[in-house]
């Protein structure tokens, strides 16, 4: 879930991205006198709005608030899975409420990360929603302050989130950001409809792009079939791939090896995290294929299929003390190839993966993906960071390029 503030329609057709978070709604509505009157009336009412932590009695209302604003059908079970897993004394979920009515929400999901110095807690920003009627009244900053203060008190070093509205989030206090580009493997021309979802290109242009996509698909398939020529084939043949139905116990150790081998920081994928995030995900459980060499876990790829029949690489990670970095590219290529073949059998129109920054492993995944037949598309949303007290002392948090990021950082609706 991105950190944008939605309107009642679930989209934001009239507001600019800056308006969405800055709450500059009055200016937007100046031309409409009736709306202005209403806004004035609402301004006087904002004094009754309380910003507080969520109570158990609010759970249903908060999910409803989200569903109504976004026109979604998230179930109460899915809501609980997402937000009642924090392990903190207080649920890190702040609401703006007037009487008992929920008018705004802002949540954090504590996520344990790891770098060479050890483990530390971060917070993933979620559910930043404000009723359009109370925007620009200073409610949103109050909510941010309340939850950031709490996160700091719980020794959270940094909070992060995803957004299409980068300017607005920078204004809201997120200091650092990075764009998320795509790696794309086309199977079918219709995949382009998904990539161009909000594009208003002419029909002829779309048709042309579809033809190009079909051609790209042919080249990608040729690449996929001939991957063996571009990787260490003898190593590839010794790698044993298994579908996991439970989280691997070696997950945490693999992450420790990962930060030693590749540097920087990443999510600690220990058994309990993987169980929660993937194997017991009530939205969709990604297929996890693990690579072993001589019974030693080298890494895994997790993939899933969305409603539009587009496949997604949810997670890919690999590390080993026994294999050098260049050979690891073969391991990643084998995992990606397996995911592509698996997703093709599920009827996917194409496969998407992320290319986020210049973390060494992120670059390695991109190189391996090119060998398998993926294309690089420099287009996507943004990831933003906000540092809290104590983060400055941590070298891995000095730059966002130190983060190895992929779709497992998202809320998990796609697996």
């Amino acid at each position: 879930m991105s950190m944008e503030i939605a309107t009642k329609s679930g989209e934001h057709p009239q507001l600019t991205k800056a308006e969405m978070v800055s709450g500059d709604i009055e200016a937007h509505c100046l031309s409409n006198s009736k709306k202005q009157e209403r806004t004035q009336q609402e301004t006087s009412n904002t004094q009754d709005i309380i910003v507080r932590f969520i109570n158990p009695g609010d759970f249903y209302a908060c999910n409803n608030f989200h569903n109504n604003l976004y026109k979604k059908d998230r179930t109460d079970t899915q809501w609980q899975w997402e937000f009642l897993h924090s392990g903190l004394p207080e649920i890190p979920f702040v609401v703006a409420a007037k009487d008992e009515e929920i008018l705004g929400t802002l949540a954090q999901i504590p996520i344990r990360m790891i770098d060479q110095e050890g483990e530390f807690l971060t917070g993933k920003s979620e559910e930043a929603l404000l009723d359009p009627a109370i925007r620009g009244k200073g409610i949103y900053p109050q909510m941010f302050k309340k939850i950031f203060d709490y996160m700091e008190s719980q020794n959270i070093l940094v909070v992060w989130g995803f957004t299409p509205a980068i300017k607005a989030n920078v204004k809201a206090g997120f200091e650092e950001h990075t764009g998320i580009a795509q790696l794309f493997f086309p199977f079918h021309a219709d995949a382009i409809n998904v990539l161009l979802k909000n594009n208003r290109s002419s029909k002829i242009k779309v048709k042309g792009i579809k033809i190009l996509c079909s051609l790209a698909g042919v080249f990608s398939s040729i690449s996929l079939c001939s991957t063996g020529l571009r990787i260490n084939n003898s190593l590839a043949q010794n790698i044993c791939l298994k579908t996991l139905s439970t989280p691997p116990e070696e997950g945490a150790d693999l992450c420790r090896t990962f930060v030693r081998q590749w540097g920087g920081t990443t999510i600690l994928r220990n058994a309990s995290f993987l169980k929660w995030r993937i194997f017991e995900n009530p939205h969709i459980r990604a297929t996890v294929r693990a690579a072993y060499l001589d019974n030693q876990l080298l890494g895994w790829v997790a993939y899933s299929l969305d409603d539009n029949s587009v496949g997604h690489i949810v997670d890919i990670i690999a590390a080993s003390n026994k294999i050098n970095s260049s050979s690891m590219e073969t391991v990643v290529a084998v995992l990606l190839k397996d995911a592509v073949v698996g997703l093709r059998k599920t009827g996917a129109l194409g496969v998407r993966a992320w290319k986020v920054n210049s973390h060494p492993f992120d670059d390695l995944v991109a190189r391996a993906a090119r060998k398998v037949g993926f294309y690089f598309i420099p287009r996507g949303e943004w990831m933003v960071l906000h540092y809290l007290q104590g983060s400055a002392a941590r070298p891995s948090l000095k730059s966002i390029d130190n983060w190895y990021i992929n779709r497992i950082y998202t809320e998990g609706v796609l697996g």
């Binding site: 079970t77 009530p282 969709i284 698996g342 059998k345």
Partner: protein, 479 residues
Amino acid sequence: MKTVEANYLWQQILQHTMRFFTQEAVDMLKKVNIRFLPYAEAVHIREPLIAVPLDIDTSIYPEAPYKVLFNGTELTLWNPLPRPRGDGWNCLPNADAPVWYRHDQGTLIPAWNIFANLFDLLTLREEREKPLRDVHGRFIGSMSPRRKVNLLEVPAFNEGVAILVAACSGLYKQNLPRFDLNGLVQPPVVILSHDNDNLRGNDMWTQSVRFVRIFQPLISFKVPRLVNLWWILRNTVYPKAYYLENITGMVDVEKMFGYTSSFYFLNGSGGRFGARSGSALIPEAMRQIPRDWVVGIHYNYDTLLNAEKLTSQLTELSSYFDRPIVSGRAHYLRFDPEKSFSFLASMGIYCDESVGYPDYIGYRCGIAGPFQPYDHLSGQALPLWEMPLIIIENTLINQYPREPVKVFHRLLYHISRIGGAISLLFHPGLFFNPEFPETRGIYRRILRVACQLEARGKPAVSLLPLQIQNMDLTHKYNL
């Protein structure tokens, strides 16, 4: 005689309640006094109980269907019963669309002929009385009298049981029937199954059909369907593509939602209506199906009521399987309403999924969930479980081409409000096949809808009593 029928129906109602409702609901259903008796006796009872008239005859043509609001959905009742004469009787919830006639002393009489409606549906009375059959000898949806009044999509049994459970809960707590099931109904179930009619796309019959269809449009002066040449070529080079190879993809998609399913295999005689792919690929297909999934038999076209042929098919199929054959479905849904149930039971089939319409989605037996068919000779339930087939993917798409997934959502949402299980058949050859673009992604989207409604996705046998699920039947076929 009616007492025997009433006992059978009550047994099915109880089993259904135990399967789809909470233990609290079952307890209340058992504690409340429910009597099946003649109408004349029912109207004279003056104590708080539910009196179900069992002696009012109906025809197979539904009379005066009407709708009532119930637990956030809409129920459809038909064949209304006359309001009892005399003072003290009230209509609940209202006189325009009554569900119950309630006497001031607490007696409840259903306002529609619940006994006859449910019993007739479970015993396939429509098709036992109507001789109409199609070229394959089937009674299809368009022949049903319910089709004409749009009642095929009404799970009358589930609705009747839901009304009874809600009434019992109300009577138990406040002496008045309720019209909701707050906390009493379990999440719905989606019964998933796949008929492996073809494991490869290059058999003579499939290729011939493609070839003939190239020229079919010429009859209506349209451009010939030349693309079929590509499909012919493609499956000549890659015979298993989009058929056998789809099995892995289907299993993967099911796993993503935590669901499992049944795969039914067709072997035995070949020919246009038979096992076009033969049996050679069955072991390879079996290797792609995890052990938690159920495999069963797709009774060949020529095995209808033919013990010798079915035994031969079962014996051959058992040799390919690493698990017992407990369940099956008839190829082309060929089924005899008089004889097939007892025939299948005699052949050792414990769970059958054949009773569905090939031309319409709907509840052929009026029930969304398994039941034990009635044996008219012994007056008892047969040792066979029928899980009627509700939805076939291509029927759903043909019937509702614009919004198949929305229709599935509507049906499943309704079941989620009243309890039950919807059975869905999805062929591997239609799961992902560029030759049939209209079905692309539908299965994934359907499962997502089921997941959002918190449905459980299972094979039919998983709903049956535990001893059947665990039964080791390898000895049955002298293996």
